[in-house]
Amino acid sequence: MSTDHHKESFLTKYIFSTDHKIIGLQYGITSLVWLLFGFMLMMIMRYQLAYPESPIPFVGALLGESGILPSEMYNSLGAMHGTIMIFLGVVPLAFGAFGNYFLPLQIGTIDMAFPKLNAASYWIYFLGSVVMVIGFFVPGGAANSGWTSYPPLADIATMGQTVWLFGMVFLITSSLLGSVNILVTVIQLRAEGMTWMKLPIFTWTQFITAFLLLLAFPPLEAAGILQLMDRLVGTSFFMPSGLVVSGEILKYTGGGSPLLWQHLFWFLAHPEVYVLILPAFGIVTEIVANNTRKPIWGYKSMVYAMVFLGFMSFIVWAHHMYLTGMGTSIGAFFQTTTMIISIPSVVILTTLFLSLWGGSIRFNTPMLFALGFIPMFGIGGLTGLPLGLAAADIHLHDTYYVIGHFHYVVAPGTIFALFAGIYYWFPKMTGKRTNETLGKLHFFFSFIFMNGVFMPMFVQGLAGVSRRLWDGGEIYAHAADVLYLNEVMSVSAWLLGLAQIFFIANMIISLRGKKTGEVNPWGATTIEWTDTTSPPLGHGNFEIVPNVYRGPYEYNVPGADKDFTPQSEKG
């Protein structure tokens, strides 16, 4: 990188850029498109659930002559909804987009440690997402064994599963490059004076997330390689002896173990839960501190809780597997670790709650989303406790209760935090402000309909309605009393989709608006808002890379002349 401002072509500036901000935007836009796409898949499925076996409006023509969603296709859409939302949507947005754009700014560096690897990381992610979608066009449709791809079903599934596995290899490679980059950037490139205990919480969360991605994804890659061997070469790592399908013994030598996949898969997928939630904690913390105009209550306990959370997340995975018959002593171990891991989560949420106490809160759009996040994540977290205990989990396993639980964590949890982050940092990225009215409409409608979608799932789940049912439980007597909720959830989901129009309209209108010229519109303390050229930023980020003298959340310091004291201010 050089300081002279030579003219760059569109291609090098916006497409094959190595600037962390452009790559962050590339990640952001791509992942938002995938989030919308993944949500649309679910809106199609919800029609079938609300009105079983009736032709689907608008998209029905794509599904065949009758316009009814076939059950095989329902399985495909379900598997791809999960895959797309997690691996193509939320993680790239939370980690790829926010991490790339704001982490180097928050620690005061001119770019990531490895800009070319950074660009490679995005383009491999992009290829991976294309491969995932190619799955829809192969014989038999996209992967249809659930996003968890449990064998032996996944071993004998249609070709889409192979495509899924190749897609995952791309995504794992991309996340490996991204996480190494973030880790090296934080360890090596912190500005003068930016010591570990002066790091903003957002940077801390990205740092811990990067460790989780670095160490948890490879075992899934190992599992993926084994499953590819099973599917393509005919090994039987996951195939038990004498498996009978449709009355015929399969031509596998057998001797493998389906349980092995579950262990390897959940060894990734439990840390993955914290990959989804930690960046959300970080974003919400920044916004809460900024809009209560007071320091975060318990910065250090928050940091230690997050480090502990990251560590513990590696030894709780088998709480997804109580029903596999893995033995009571192993069950006891994982129940204990699961109860222990709830402690740091509670610490983090409590610090956020207590940070609100006594603040003169500014209720702007980012703050509303952040405030929405706190109780919604609370519901998601608390409903997880019964699932962590085998006695309750045996009843609730694979019911809609589980779906409700993890969607509360990820949808009104993480996705609200991501919206909050977009509204909060929009002035930094563009130099413009978003429209507050549209933002608030977006929040309130989203908040109502999110709960309309996910709250009834607890009711259905407690009644024993299983997940992954094509007809929404119509043929089961025990589901009869709660069947009407399917329509409630579906209508809420479609209205939730409509509510996102406020967001899209807001983005378009705000981008066309005038620049405000404000460098620090929120009166924030972290250094991405200070000592910079007026946004949007060019190459190099800072005119002079600032030195850091104080902690990240010095709001309303007694005796100061204004209600915020930036980290780069001496004294």
């Binding site: 990188m1 300081t3 560096t109 001119i110 770019d111 440690a113 490895f114 800009p115 490996l176 996480s179 190494v180 980059n181 880790l183 090296v184 360890i187 090596q188 490139l189 670095l214 160490l215 948890a216 994804f217 490879p218 075992p219 899934l220 890659e221 190992a222 599992a223 390689i225 084994l226 061997m229 070469v233 005919g234 090994t235 039987s236 790592f237 596998y252 030598t253 001797g255 493998g256 173990s257 349980l259 092995l260 262990h263 390897l264 060894f267 190099g540 890379v545």
Partner: protein
Amino acid sequence: MDIPYTVKDRPDTGLYNGKLGVWLFLASEVMLFGGLFSAYIFLRTGVDTWPRGADILDVPLATLNTLFLITSSVTMVMSWASLKLKDLAKFKLYAGLTLLLACAFLVVKYFEYTHKFHVGLFPSTNTFLGIYFTMTGLHVLHIIGGIIVIFYFWMPGSKMWESDPERFTNRIEIVGLYWHFVDLVWIFLFPVLYLL
């Protein structure tokens, strides 16, 4: 403005960026092979009978391969040390030897594989052969990756020695770290698959 610590060490961490990066990458690789070794243990403890590696596999050839790889690790270090002593010719010699030994490893592996196929032993024959081919196959991919990178620095990439010798030396150190890791994986694979 340039990105700091690409060549020089950061004082408080004592590392330059690339070195830290490759250590983290290797941590990830440990988890990848760790996952496969765990799978091996899981599969083996789950069945009643498990063949003895030595009965199926060729221990003398694997021993020869172990020697090749250990020697290649030594020559890899020597090539880096030569650069530290500012001797490009010696570097070329040792890096060339490393490449030669790595290729020798692949040739031996090729004969091992084709012999297995010839006598009708395939990955699908049983789980032991499945995990043998998967793990050694993945290891071979790592060897090939290493060969490509070392070859690049041996021939076209060595031009950097003229323009930025310190950075070039660092690059060889990083490749070396990777190469030692690949060597180490084999040192675990050899007893686990062939001897136990």
